[in-house]
Symmetry: C2
Subunit: 193 residues, 2 copies
């Protein structure tokens, strides 16, 4: 029977993600990926198919990694207020610890490719849907707990928060002043109380 895949697919995806995140899709060459993964060209093509296909896997990997991290952070928050604050704190922490000011891979990719690549567009639509659904759930809980107001529906607040998160990620590319960003987040969340 055949030889089996020797490399760790997850590790390879991790390395590929770092490159795409740093340079963007069009800014990343196959040679960059070969160098970063220390995989052979043909191994990459055998295992991932094409640059775009690999990138789609990278996006999914990045998305699920973020979800996992979010899950861990939220495990300790048992009410909607803590939850929404933990979410924004996670993004803030991401900004402050990113030495290269890369921003969010998904936001960047949306801006670079959503209007060009149909597969990317539908990934982004699905990502938006999921994120907003998650936020809507949190807001809805907060409204049930009477800690968030009902001036707007949970759905409306969710879109507002989704938009604020993207704004935060864009702002964090050039502004990494912790206090200013913390205050910005407080202003964003103020509307809920």
């Amino acid at each position: 029977m055949p030889k089996t895949e020797t490399f760790n697919r997850k590790e390879v995806l991790q390395k590929a993600t770092a490159v795409f995140h740093q340079k963007g899709y069009n800014g990343t060459s196959m040679q960059d990926l070969v160098d970063a993964t220390s995989l052979n060209r043909s191994s990459i093509y055998n295992s991932f198919g094409s640059k775009l296909a690999m990138f789609m896997e990278v996006l999914s990997y990045y998305q699920s990694t973020n979800k996992d991290q979010m899950g861990k952070e939220l495990a300790h928050s048992h009410n909607a207020k803590d939850t929404i604050e933990a979410i924004f704190d996670m993004y803030l922490n991401d900004i402050l610890t990113d030495q290269d000011r890369k921003g969010c891979l998904i936001v960047n990719c949306k801006s670079e490719m959503a209007n060009q690549e149909p597969m990317i567009k539908s990934f982004m639509e699905q990502n938006q849907e999921q994120t907003i659904a998650m936020l809507e759930d949190v807001v809805h809980n907060g409204q049930m707990e009477k800690v968030f107001n009902e001036d707007q529906t949970a759905s409306q607040y969710a879109l507002y928060l989704y938009s604020a998160i993207q704004g935060l990620r864009m702002t964090g590319i050039l502004n990494t002043n912790r206090e200013e960003l913390k205050n910005l987040i407080n202003m964003v969340l103020k509307i809920l109380y």
Copy 2:
């Protein structure tokens, strides 16, 4: 004496802007620019120097075009409330009339290149500074008029609005529902009143 430049530089910049806006910097090839401008390769290099140099001119052109448009829109608003609403209405209109869902050229470029090209980074820093200064001025006026509250300083509100604008531009790439976006803007501005 020499032959003078025959083509209209502004028209060329307009056409180049359209291409870069549609495809992004790395997604645009010199051939794309030759095709779009119907200028010769060498004419482009004679007149603009390089792809990056041309792109810098495109960015400035786009920025000043936006400023001009903003100036016209704001000519009719004589108080801070009208002004800030006119600003957000302008962005909303931009989103709703953009058939190709390209988003904002400057936001896109910031996400693609700010962490890679020093010249782009400093352009973006200057753009951010100017935009925030403009917003701070409007907020400050509104606070003097007692129509905006003073819960936060004008400077803090300006950063908040700057971030919200970027979020709006990102959101507008996939969501073009006028009512949802109008409501989103109302939520963003609510904190000021």
